[in-house]
Point group: C2
Chain length 310, copies 2
DNA sequence: GGAACCATGCAGAATAATTGCATGATCGAC
DNA sequence: GTCGATCATGCAATTATTCTGCATGGTTCC
C-alpha cells in the first residue's frame, strides 16, 4: 500500500505525539529525532494559528485545539484510506508494499497462507508479514507500517469506537482443554468446561490476556479455577500438563509440540472462544488487498467464521 | 485565514490542473512554473501508484484515477475547512489574513462596510478586499486567495451542487427601471415591468449576465424587449438613457452618476431581482469570520435578505 | 510549413526539513 | 536537598526536497 501522501505529514506527527504521549516516543515511532517532531508540530501550530502543545511536567500535553485538530484528522485519514482503496480497485495491477501483521498464532497459522495467496493473485505487490502483539499491531497500522492486522481484544487495545480504526470480527477460535494422556476426562464422550472445575489449572501471568481469558471462561462456566501454576507460552504450559502439573486451555489455532497430552474439544454453551478481529485503518476495509486477504483467511479456516457486519 | 496546511499541496496542484485544464494555467494560478506543476503531479501519481495525467493533444487530460482522487479531495478540503472554522471559533483572538471578494457592485457597496466592521471586531486580522467577476471569485476561493465571495449566478459559475463550494443566497437585489427625466412612466404611481414593453431597451452585450438577466425579466413579464443599444456598464447605459436612447434596468445596489434620469422601483410579481450569493469553500461557511461578515452584510442591507437555508 | 502553444526533462539554485548536540526544566530516588 | 534520568526545545550544519530557467519534442491552427 502507498504511504500517506494526500494528508500533510505534520498531522501524522501530531497524531503520533497524541498516541505516544511524548515527543520522544512519537519521534521513535516515526523514525525521526525528537527535535524534528518538535519542529514540525510547532510549524503546524503556526500555520493553524493555534497552540497545539503545552509543557506539562517534563513532557507535553495536548491543548483543546490539538484535540479538535486530531478529531478532524481522523476524518481526513479515513477519507484518504477510502481513496487509496478506490484507486487500488480501479487499477488492474496493484503495486507496492502490503503488510500484514498479527499476534503470534495468527501470524503463524493464518497470515502465511493468506500472504502466499495474495502473492499469487497480485504478483506486483511486495508482501510483508509482521508478528506483533495486538497493541503494537494498532501502532503499526497507525504509523502505516502495516495495512491489515489480526488481533484479539485486550484491555490495552483501542475500543471499537476508536475512529482511527475499523475492527471487524473475523473468526472465533474455540479453546480446547489440554490434559495428560490417560487423564480421566479423556474417557468422557463429551467434555464441558465445568467438568474440569476441580482440576489444578495452569494459566498465564496475572494481567495477561490469556489469564483473563481463562478466568472469564471458568467464571462463566460457574467455578473459580484452582490455579496451580503460571505459564505464558503454550510450550511451557503443555510441558507442565504432560508432567501432570495441571491442565490448560489452548486455542484451536495454536499448534502444540509433540507431548504426551490430549486435546479435548469443549462442548456446551459456555465453551470459551478467543475472538479474532481484523483491524485496518478507518476507511481501509474495502481495499481490494484487504478484502482479498480476509476472504482467503475466512474461506480457508476450519474455524467458525463470524458473519457479523461490524 | 490560514493557508492549506493539513492537506498535501500536491492535491491542490492536481485540483488546479483540473480546474484550469492545462498545466500552464494551473501553474499561473498557483504562482508556480509549469515544470513545477508537472513535477508535483508526477510525484503524486507515483506515490499513489496510478497515472493521473495523460497527454491529450498539446495538453493533458485527467485519467479516471485522477477524477477519483479529486472527488475525494473535495471531501478532504471540506473537512479541513471545517477544522479551520472550528479552531477559529475556539480561539479568543483569530489571527491572520481574511480576504473578501465580490463582483463590482458588491465590492463597492457591501464589502467595505463589512470589512470595516470585521477590522473593528477582530483587530488582529488583516483584511483584504478584492473586486473580481464571479467566475474569478470562485477561482480565488479555490486557490485560497479569498475566503468569502459575493457572487451572482452566471452560466460560467459553478453549479450549486459543486462540492468544492458552499453557495448560500444572501440577498435579493431588485432591479430599478431607469428612464429619462420627464418620461411618461414617471407619471405613473406604480410601474410594472410590462409597462415598459414598448420602450427601446439598452441591455448588455449578448452573452453577458446582465443581458440574460434583462431578457429573462422581460420574458417573464410577458414581452420581448425591443433592443436598441448595448451597454455593459451602468455609466454608459445611464448616459444613453439620459440622452433619450432608451431605458435600462439597474440593480438597486448600483449607484448611478448624476445624470438627468429617474430611477423607478418596479412593482408586481414579475419585478426582477438579481440574487446575490455568498460563496465559500465547502466547509468554510461556519467560520466565525465568515458568519460575522455575512451577518453584518445582511443586517446593514436595506435589501430583502434571503432567509433561505441552502 | 511555420508559428504558437503546451508538457516535460534536466542541471543548477533556492528552499525546506532533519540531524546532532547543547540547554533548561522536571521528576523520582536516595 | 542533590544527583541522575527523562524530556522538550533551540540552534547551526547538513541533507533532502522543491523550484526555476532553459531546452526539447509533440500538437494544433493558420
Amino acid at each position: 500500500m502507498q504511504n500517506n501522501c494526500m494528508i500533510d505529514s505534520k498531522l501524522k506527527v501530531l497524531q503520533m505525539v497524541a498516541q505516544h504521549g511524548t515527543v520522544t516516543a512519537a519521534a521513535e515511532a516515526l523514525h525521526y529525532t525528537p527535535s524534528a517532531v518538535s519542529y514540525r508540530v510547532r510549524q503546524l501550530a503556526e500555520e493553524l494559528g493555534v497552540e497545539l502543545l503545552a509543557p506539562s511536567g517534563r513532557g507535553v500535553a495536548l491543548t483543546a485545539a490539538a484535540r479538535v485538530v486530531l478529531r478532524h484528522a481522523e476524518v481526513l485519514y479515513a477519507e484518504a484510506e477510502r481513496t487509496y482503496a478506490e484507486l487500488a480497485a480501479t487499477v488492474d495491477e496493484p503495486t507496492g508494499l502490503f503488510t500484514l501483521c498479527g499476534f503470534s498464532t495468527a501470524a503463524s497459522r493464518l497470515l502465511p497462507p493468506a500472504a502466499s495467496d495474495l502473492r499469487e493473485r497480485f504478483p506486483r505487490i511486495t508482501l510483508r508479514v509482521i508478528e506483533a502483539e495486538p497493541v503494537r499491531c494498532f501502532d503499526l497500522l497507525l504509523s502505516g507500517d502495516a495495512d491489515l492486522a489480526l488481533v484479539t481484544n485486550t484491555a490495552d487495545t483501542p475500543p471499537a469506537s476508536d475512529e482511527r480504526f475499523d475492527q471487524k470480527p473475523l473468526l472465533d477460535d474455540p479453546l480446547d482443554l489440554v490434559v495428560p494422556e490417560g487423564h480421566r476426562l479423556t474417557r468422557l464422550s463429551e467434555v464441558d468446561l465445568a467438568d474440569a472445575a476441580d482440576e489444578p489449572w495452569i494459566v498465564g501471568s496475572p494481567g495477561t490476556t490469556y489469564h483473563h481469558l481463562v478466568m472469564n471462561a471458568c467464571m462463566t462456566a460457574g467455578f473459580t479455577p484452582n490455579i496451580a501454576h503460571h505459564a505464558d507460552e503454550w510450550e511451557t504450559g503443555t510441558a507442565l500438563v504432560a508432567h501432570g502439573f495441571g491442565i490448560i486451555l489452548v486455542p484451536k489455532l495454536a499448534r502444540l509440540q509433540d507431548w504426551p497430552v490430549v486435546r479435548l474439544p469443549l462442548s456446551g454453551d459456555a465453551a470459551p472462544v478467543r475472538r479474532v478481529l481484523a483491524a485496518t485503518r478507518k476507511g481501509g476495509r474495502d481495499h481490494p488487498l484487504v478484502t482479498a486477504a480476509l476472504e482467503r483467511i475466512s474461506s480457508s479456516s476450519t474455524l467458525p467464521v463470524v458473519r457479523d457486519e461490524a
